[in-house]
């Protein structure tokens, strides 16, 4: 992983990275409400010191079980939630510093570069706006398209995501889940972003529609040159769409490698278990060998040392005592495990 010494400010671009995340931490305080005063009783370690980089025109997959911090990572990168500490860079520009600054123009510019697709296309469209209003809203905000061209541009975007012109006058409730997700994608593309975070974009959709949306995302990458951070708990879709994959467990990255490498030679026991848990469409295939036992521990009191040790089949005395570091095992295959 690229190591940068500079804190904040503009960084010299030495590589082809579009996004660099360094030592990102997000803790949520947990309060108990007393009669009058509230007091903090704990901390949710949602994202705990993660670092990664995303190259231009790459799809970077982020996988993990529910509640492991994938969505929080996405929202912190977009500064929709304030980070506790750490840095994130977009084309070498410090994202958090920019959003902290009072320069409205710069903030708006950065908003245009990075966009987010939500998991639930039923909740992410304002029910009181027509599709036309939804897709042209970014034009109102960023003023990058003259008003005379709005109609043309909206139709163009609708066509790009596989919808028809006449859909523009309709309201979100008149569409199916897959169509709504296409509207969300059209809205996101209206700002002409470079970087797109897709937060489980297909998990709430029908299996038959999933492939369509994933193919659409792939096509758009080729045509417009988009960079994706693809977040999912569904390994098959991650394998289909990602170039590189990071596996998260309880707020930490435990393994990071090229997709083929990771799926063929998983090193971390957690990754192995995840991959083995993927159903294989062959009834004669051997059944899963080591299905994960137990639940994900609470991120309020994460286990000591290696956070995976209570559920790990190969854990030893060392594991609860010492936290394994994320180490390059060759071919840019990073893994955090004492026995990998």
């Amino acid at each position: 992983m690229a190591k940068h010494q500079l804190k904040g400010g503009k960084k010299t671009l030495t590589n082809s990275d579009l996004i660099t995340v360094e030592n990102l931490i997000k803790y949520f305080p947990v309060y108990s409400r007393g009669v009058l005063l509230k007091k903090q009783v704990g901390i949710v370690h949602a994202v705990d010191n993660i670092s990664f980089n995303i190259k231009r025109k790459e799809t970077f997959g982020l996988v993990g079980e529910s509640g492991c911090g994938k969505t929080t990572t996405a929202r912190v990168i977009l500064n929709l939630i304030e980070p506790t500490s750490g840095e994130a860079f977009f084309e070498g520009e410090n994202i958090f510093e920019k959003f902290q600054s009072s320069n409205k123009k710069e903030k708006l510019k950065l908003r245009r570069e990075m966009q987010l697709i939500f998991q639930n296309p039923y909740g992410s469209l304002d029910p009181r706006m027509t599709v036309f209003d939804i897709i042209s809203e970014p034009f109102v905000i960023h003023k990058h398209v003259p008003k005379s061209q709005w109609k043309e541009k909206v139709y163009e975007l609708l066509e790009l995501v596989g919808l028809e012109e006449y859909h523009a006058e309709r309201y979100p409730h008149e569409f199916s889940g897959g169509q709504r997700q296409r509207i969300c994608i059209a809205r996101v593309l209206a700002v002409e972003p470079k970087f797109l975070i897709a937060d489980e974009p297909v998990s709430s959709l029908d299996v038959s529609i999933r492939a369509q949306i994933l193919n659409l995302l792939g096509e758009l990458q080729e045509r417009i040159g988009l960079t994706y951070l693809y977040i999912s708990h569904d390994l098959s879709s991650v394998r289909q769409i990602s170039h590189r994959v990071a596996v998260m467990y309880l707020g930490e990255i435990v393994e990071l490698a090229d997709t083929d490498e990771l799926f063929k030679k998983p090193l971390q026991p957690y990754t192995k278990a995840l991959i083995q848990a993927v159903p294989i469409p062959d009834p004669k295939a051997k059944t899963m060998k080591n299905v994960l036992s137990g639940e994900v521990p609470s991120p309020i009191n994460p286990p000591s040392g290696c956070r995976f040790h209570p559920r790990c089949p190969i854990a030893t005395e060392k594991c609860p005592k010492e936290k394994p570091k994320l180490i390059n095992k060759g071919h840019a295959h990073y893994v955090a495990c004492h026995y990998a």
């Binding site: 992410s124 960023h142 700002v191």
Partner: protein
């Protein structure tokens, strides 16, 4: 933006047949409801007792002959269904009948009392809604902040507290102890506050309006806060923020528009109930309005007055409901007229 276009579109659909047919049908539906309420009220009123027996209590030396002639004068000698039909026929001609206390036409009585109530209520309702919307939004924006905790506590108190109690407390403090405000009536003779009729009116309105506003405010703030909280958590609000929309626009353009529905319903109901007034508050402040007279008439079994006011309340509630439903079509595109 196509908001201009959507207004024209809405307007053409208003003139279009769907809306017209809908309104006509809803108005026709009102007829059976109206008749049903009138029948129930009429017979309940009749079952409550003989209205002329109260006259006998007031005047023990009244002769049986006079009572009989009064009965004939008011048409009380006929069978109840016939009385109802007579009353209904008169009503359809715009005649509410005569008060059993003094024989004055109910139309005139209601007309002279209604203004005071409408004045009091309209000021209170508009004030309450104007104040509660920004406070509710602010409370939702800063959930669990000190300001929010204060607002919700005060609202909870307002919802739970009996209105007459607050009224009496205000009278004790501002009229009895401090002697600043008049404790009763809607007008002073001579005028209070520099002998100015407008200032006099304001002086009389302050306390009853304060009580009514506080109660409505409390309910309204809780309603707006709860709705806003739900919507501010939704993904489309986050999407609006992510696309760079300013926080002010996110709140007023996205969130408020979606949160305002139940508030409009509540506003409609309040406006429908405007005539019924707040009998409790009118009583405490001896306000010469309809609400207080309504209760007095019911206790005196003055049923032409009670029936007249009941029918006006029924009518206004029905119309307010229709207006709420029509307003919803414009606020929420998911609602279609059928």
């Amino acid at each position: 933006m196509s908001s201009g276009r959507s207004i024209t579109r809405s307007f053409s659909s208003l003139l279009g047949s769907a809306m017209f047919r809908y309104i006509v049908r809803r108005l026709l539906y009102m007829i059976p409801v109206f008749l049903g309420i009138s029948i129930i009220s009429f017979f309940v009123m009749y079952a409550a007792g003989d209205p002329l027996s109260i006259i006998r209590i007031g005047k023990p030396d009244i002769t049986q002959e006079t009572i009989e002639s009064l009965k004939i004068y008011y048409g009380l000698d006929k069978p109840v269904p016939i009385q109802y039909l007579n009353w209904l026929t008169n009503l359809l001609q715009g005649n509410f009948g005569k008060s059993l206390r003094g024989g004055r036409p109910v139309n005139l009585l209601i007309g002279s009392w209604a203004w005071e109530t409408v004045k009091l209520q309209l000021i209170s309702i508009l004030l309450a809604f104007a104040i509660s919307i920004p406070i509710g939004i602010n409370s939702a924006k800063k959930q669990y902040s000190k300001q929010d905790v204060a607002v919700t506590s005060i609202s909870l108190f307002g919802v739970s507290m009996p209105t007459f109690w607050l009224g009496i407390i205000l009278i004790i403090i501002f009229s009895y102890q401090l002697g600043l405000l008049p404790s009763a009536g809607s007008r002073g003779a001579p005028y209070l506050w520099w002998d100015n009729p407008i200032l006099d009116q304001i002086a009389h309105l302050i306390m009853p309006v304060a009580v009514l506003v506080y109660v409505m405010l409390a309910q309204n703030i809780r309603l707006i806060r709860a709705n806003m909280l739900e919507i501010l958590r939704s993904d489309y609000v986050l999407a609006a923020r992510a696309s760079g929309l300013s926080e002010r626009k996110v709140i007023y353009k996205y969130a408020l528009r979606n949160a305002i529905g139940p508030v409009i319903t509540y506003l409609g109901i309040s406006l429908g109930m405007i005539i019924a007034g707040a009998p409790m508050t009118e009583y405490v402040f001896s306000w010469p309005g309809l609400g207080r007279r309504y209760v007095t008439a019911a206790m005196e079994l003055d049923f032409p007055v009670v029936m007249g006011i009941t029918m006006i309340i029924t009518m206004m509630t029905l119309i307010a409901n229709l207006m709420i439903d029509i307003a919803y079509v414009y606020i929420d595109p998911r609602i279609r007229l059928r």
